[in-house]
């Protein structure tokens, strides 16, 4: 497809006038590097743009509009669905140089940050004020706030605290035509439709977010973390359900199966029981009285389910070690096979155990090693397939197993993604979860922001999802005097 486009060097002139010579990359190596993210699929990048201000982003989007180029916003490139992969020879707008953290607004419990700021750096910047930014994806040391907004990122602590959209009060966004808007902010419930809520999770298909107002939460006065060791997956699953049924929503409930425990223990030496069928990591936080009460419930339920060992983290160092074990799970698997394919889907919590067994069956059927580490409390599964990318036959089996996992999750009443998003990876599977009418409505939402369809094309919605012609190109509707809408 790039053969129909002018050579990148010729495209670059207008962008160089905005960004200067050094922040427009057109070399083959750079274009190749920016044509991929955490998904296996590569794209085709015409140019890489490195703006440092919203005004520069706006200028770049105007120039892209003039040239009729697709625009792909990019954070840290840690996404797993191909949402940052440029298709159709678009320009990649990297926000990595926009990393300023504004003055912390303690009185309003928020802070404005630029999209290139890394997730973990926000909490680090506000910890001395007794605050933190709640969403904590496992990649939080590398992933950016802009990317988090694009994917509506989650993390272990989203069980009680909620995902990214619940922590984004507002944003500055550059629309595809270069217009800069500020949507939302610290004042609650601004009039009109909740456009802020639509931008979060839109995977860069509605504009380029250039500043984000993040809600900061108080650090809990007390925290306790416990590792529960089970001889069977069923007991572990029943414990998760039992804790919730007893009226406790912990800050986090994470589960690892035996394959993952072995991989992680070899990597982190955190003292995990490698003979366990499953471990469950539970964290409760809040007031000291609440932590006491909730931990009593957790322990009681676990013992009723036949837990082999209850390991309560004695201090902050041990707690950090347990979390390190959890969050380095994906790195640990790299010791088993050179590549891994990480899936993400959500099932009703009550179906967890049967779904885990089915996933193991899918692994056997496709002759693949599938290990699991996931957010058990909200039913958000992360089956991880270890494989070798150099073996095309094995890659084919990996993709087939992935499709089977998606179908499995949907068949028990689950959804396509809990926190990674759709991107390219699950674009076509959207048709399994939504009717053509549903998808057309989603296409209308996208088109309302980007009528020309140049923002990150080919993502989220399957080919052929169109907002009906009548809907957007239709006649002007009579608006009553004094009405907006």
């Amino acid at each position: 497809m790039s053969t129909t486009l002018p050579a990148p060097a010729a495209l670059a002139a207008g962008f160089r006038a905005i960004l200067g010579p050094d922040r427009v990359l057109d070399g083959a190596v750079e274009r190749d590097l920016y044509s991929r993210d955490g998904l296996v699929t590569d794209g085709d990048c015409a140019l890489v743009l490195l703006p440092e201000t919203a005004a520069e982003v706006s200028g770049c989007l105007r120039e892209a509009a003039r040239l009729g180029l697709a625009v792909v916003p990019r954070g840290s490139g840690t996404g797993l669905t191909g949402a940052a992969v440029p298709l159709e020879g678009g320009v990649v707008v990297s926000l990595a140089r926009m990393r300023r953290i504004g003055e912390v607004d303690v009185a309003n419990g928020c802070v404005w940050v630029e999209p290139g700021v890394l997730n973990l750096d926000v909490s680090a910047a506000v910890a001395h004020l007794g605050l933190h930014y709640a969403p904590d994806p496992s990649s939080q040391a590398a992933c950016s706030i802009g990317g988090n907004v694009g994917t509506n990122a989650g993390g272990p602590h989203c069980l009680a605290a909620g995902v990214t959209v619940q922590h984004v009060l507002g944003m500055e966004i550059v629309l595809p035509d270069g217009e800069v808007l500020v949507l939302g902010g610290p004042a609650p419930d601004p009039p009109g439709y909740d456009l802020r809520g639509v931008v979060v999770g839109a995977e860069g298909t509605v504009g380029v977010v250039t500043r984000v107002c993040l809600r900061l939460s108080p650090l809990p006065p007390a925290v306790r973390t416990v590792l529960l060791d089970f001889a069977t997956t069923a007991e572990a699953g029943s414990t998760v359900g039992g804790i919730i049924a007893a009226g406790v929503v912990p800050a986090a409930i994470e589960m690892m199966d035996t394959g993952m425990i072995v991989a992680v223990e070899a990597f982190t030496h955190a003292g995990l029981p490698t003979d366990a069928a499953a471990v469950v990591l539970v964290e409760v936080d809040g007031s000291p009285a609440q932590v006491e009460a909730q931990m009593a419930v957790v322990e009681r339920v676990a013992r009723e389910q036949g837990v082999r060992q209850v390991r309560v983290a004695r201090d902050e160092a041990e707690r950090a070690l347990l979390w390190k074990a959890r969050k380095s799970a994906f790195g640990a698997v790299a010791r088993i096979r050179p590549n891994s394919y990480l899936h993400d889907c959500v099932v009703p919590r009550t179906r967890l155990v049967e779904v885990l067994h089915e996933i193991q069956r899918i692994g056997r059927e496709h002759d693949l090693l599938i290990v699991n580490v996931f957010h058990a409390g909200d039913g958000n599964l992360h089956p991880l397939i270890a494989y070798d990318r150099r073996d095309p036959e094995e890659v084919a089996r990996v993709l087939a197993a992935g499709d089977a996992i998606v179908e499995l999750c949907l068949s028990v009443g689950g959804v396509l993604s809990g926190e990674h998003g759709i991107g390219i990876e699950k674009r076509d599977a959207m048709a399994l979860a939504f009717s053509p009418t549903d998808l057309a409505a989603q296409a209308c939402v996208r088109a309302a922001f980007d009528p020309a369809g140049r923002m990150n094309p080919g993502k989220v919605l399957p080919a052929g999802s169109r907002c009906g012609e009548a809907a957007l190109a239709g006649r002007e509707v009579h608006v009553p005097d004094g009405a907006w809408i």
Partner: protein, 351 residues
């Protein structure tokens, strides 16, 4: 002519007919939020009273799927059996699930539980032109596709009729209680700041002209009167000919309250949230309250009142109006849904 369809399909069919015939439609749940928007704009009332099925109740998954006409009070009774609740929803007598969501009416416990938007997992919307569109997903977590639930929440029936929803439920707290201290406006603001600093995640901190009210939830040991406060009932609802709802950054709420107190107004202000309900009697009151809110980087809308108070119910239009109009046109191409519900600057329309 009023309509009371008995199923989502019947709602869609009624809207398809209305769009074809150019008849305007005013969706109605319990009618507790119907005195808003431009006066005289109401069309045929489409009641959701015939949509009261419980579609799927899964306490173990903490989700509830119901039709939109089910009263909020019935959701409360149903979920209480399993020790659960829907804490984000404002619960007025007669209010329906769909009405609360269409109006984005959050409960006083918003400080702890967040806005009602956060509780809507999946929505089925009968669009203005009679399509049934589903968005979101039924699990407690999910990011598949564009967030139609958030778009629909607070859309006041201007995109279509909410016919079915899936809600995220939560365990009821072990204990909860309200506490009150009589105080002047200035004293209440100071006391509120102290309670907010000393209490981890209170459910509500509410300022009224003569008192401070605090709601606490959680373990028994955490539900005890803050210093200087005594156990009480919940604060009474605000009464007035009309109600203006202001939203200001939480840090500016004390300034707003000081101004309202100086003007001698009755109000209910939610500390830490930034929402402030103000009783008004005249169009001049609306303008004066709005002026104060706008000066504090906020906004003010008339959310209840007779026609005389609703000549300019929304104030200046928000950013992104062109996008909002395209959304409106996409979901309601014939423009029959609740015309005049979202109103504002005439000049913007001309532009």
């Amino acid at each position: 002519m009023d309509l009371t369809p008995r199923s989502p399909d019947a709602v869609a069919a009624a809207l398809a007919r209305a769009s074809r015939d150019g008849l305007t439609v005013d969706p109605r749940g319990g009618g507790t939020k119907s005195r808003r928007g431009l006066p005289g704009s109401a069309g045929t009332v489409l009641s959701t009273a015939g949509l009261t099925r419980v579609v799927d109740h899964a306490p173990g998954d903490m989700t509830l799927t119901v039709e939109a006409g089910l009263p909020v009070a019935e959701v409360a009774a149903l979920t209480a059996r399993d020790g659960q609740w829907w804490p984000q929803a404002e619960e007025r007598p007669g209010a329906t699930v769909g009405g609360v969501l269409a109006a984005a009416a959050s409960a006083r416990g918003r400080l702890r539980h967040g806005p009602v938007r956060d509780s809507l997992l999946e929505v089925v919307l009968a669009t203005g032109d009679g399509r049934l569109v589903k968005g979101g997903g039924r699990t407690v977590k999910g990011v598949a596709g564009y967030d139609l639930p958030r778009l629909v929440c607070g859309s006041l029936g201007t995109l279509g009729v909410i016919v079915q929803v899936t809600l995220k439920l939560w365990p009821r707290p072990a204990e909860s209680g309200w506490y009150c201290a009589e105080a002047t406006a200035a004293e209440a603001a100071a006391l509120a700041a102290r309670v907010m600093a000393e209490t981890y995640r209170p459910a509500s901190v509410v300022l009224t002209p003569q008192a401070l009210w605090v709601a606490l939830e959680g373990a028994a040991a955490d539900v005890a009167p803050p210093a200087g406060m005594a156990a009480s009932e919940a604060p009474p609802g605000l009464a007035g000919a009309g109600i203006v709802e202001c939203g200001v950054p939480p840090a500016r709420l004390a300034d707003l309250v000081a101004g309202l107190a100086a003007d001698g107004r009755d109000y209910e202000a939610w500390a830490g949230v930034g929402t402030c309900l103000v009783a008004v009697a005249t169009a001049g009151d609306v303008a004066a309250v709005r002026e104060r809110a706008l000066a504090l980087d906020g906004h003010a809308q008339v959310v209840d009142g007779p026609p005389g108070l609703r000549a300019d119910p929304f104030g200046p239009p928000p950013p992104g109006l062109a996008i909002m109009r395209r959304l409106k046109r996409a979901f309601d191409p014939a423009g029959v849904m609740s015309p005049g519900r979202f109103v504002g600057d005439v000049q913007e329309v001309a532009a």
